[in-house]
Point group: C2
Chain length 186, copies 2
Amino acid sequence: MEANTRVFSFLGGAAGPWRVTQTRTVTGASLPVASRLEIAAGKVPASSADWCLQGAISNTRYVTRAESDRLAAVQATLGRSEAVQATLIPIRKNAAWWALAQDERRHILEESSRHIVIGMEYLPAVARRLYHCRDLDQAQPFDFLTWFEFSPAHVSAFDELLARLRKTPEWSYVDRELEISLLRES
Amino acid sequence: MEANTRVFSFLGGAAGPWRVTQTRTVTGASLPVASRLEIAAGKVPASSADWCLQGAISNTRYVTRAESDRLAAVQATLGRSEAVQATLIPIRKNAAWWALAQDERRHILEESSRHIVIGMEYLPAVARRLYHCRDLDQAQPFDFLTWFEFSPAHVSAFDELLARLRKTPEWSYVDRELEISLLRES
């Protein structure tokens, strides 16, 4: 069988185009501090890396058509030349979150926490991609990997976005979170 | 890293406690006809099998709290001694389905097709478990594997359930479907 082309590996180690400028443990257990990050297509053996996190790009789970259309109208693509800063945020949510039904999760995420609406305020400055980790072959230490890219001019806006999201009811279900800040050097 | 304990392999071949009584291709390409089925925990090499399908038990994607509570009140567990018949239904949905937003998929699945409500009419006779295939490491030929167990007394009720679901708007998005009928012999 062929590899799932939506699966990617994030390898923290001594190699890769992204230099790690800070590894911050927001909630729960930390990860070893790596000096560089490489993103590889597929499931890559992590033998030479300090850590390896994997996730799959998948269909959206909460966004409505109206929200999706509004997002599509303003969002930026990854890989913009000016977006030399990136942040990788691995997150795990607790068992209580995963035991909720779809309408309960949607209600907490948007009607109560405004996750989508808040994120939209920072578009197109902050480009974003979500990777899902729960249904991969190997048990993963996180449920999601979120990748953000932005220019140095938008660092403080990005920090504000994170601060606002972390104060929401949704974040009371987050039991592990890291914030890995990166600078593109190639 | 450890294996994801929610991942299972369905091995069609010459071994296993389930005898294949019929392999029906409902839509799209068929699979080789196997004589027996084995279900193994984790990702199992398919070397000796005619086919190997993998899926992960995951969180629900559409069911509301009210529906979930109603389901929990009536549904049966797998492995009942009288439930010697089983059917494995591998399904793939087309790209148009996966490009829909959450509210559009929910609307088609339940408000328009009554998938959850129809299924509930056949509880507790038909026990069911859904496996998700899209976010595994290897590209899978199907998006879902649904496993049904019931007693010989409920075969025609089960056939009726399938016939009703296949007439719904949701099924216009199904571009590959097999129906593998099984009898437990151990």
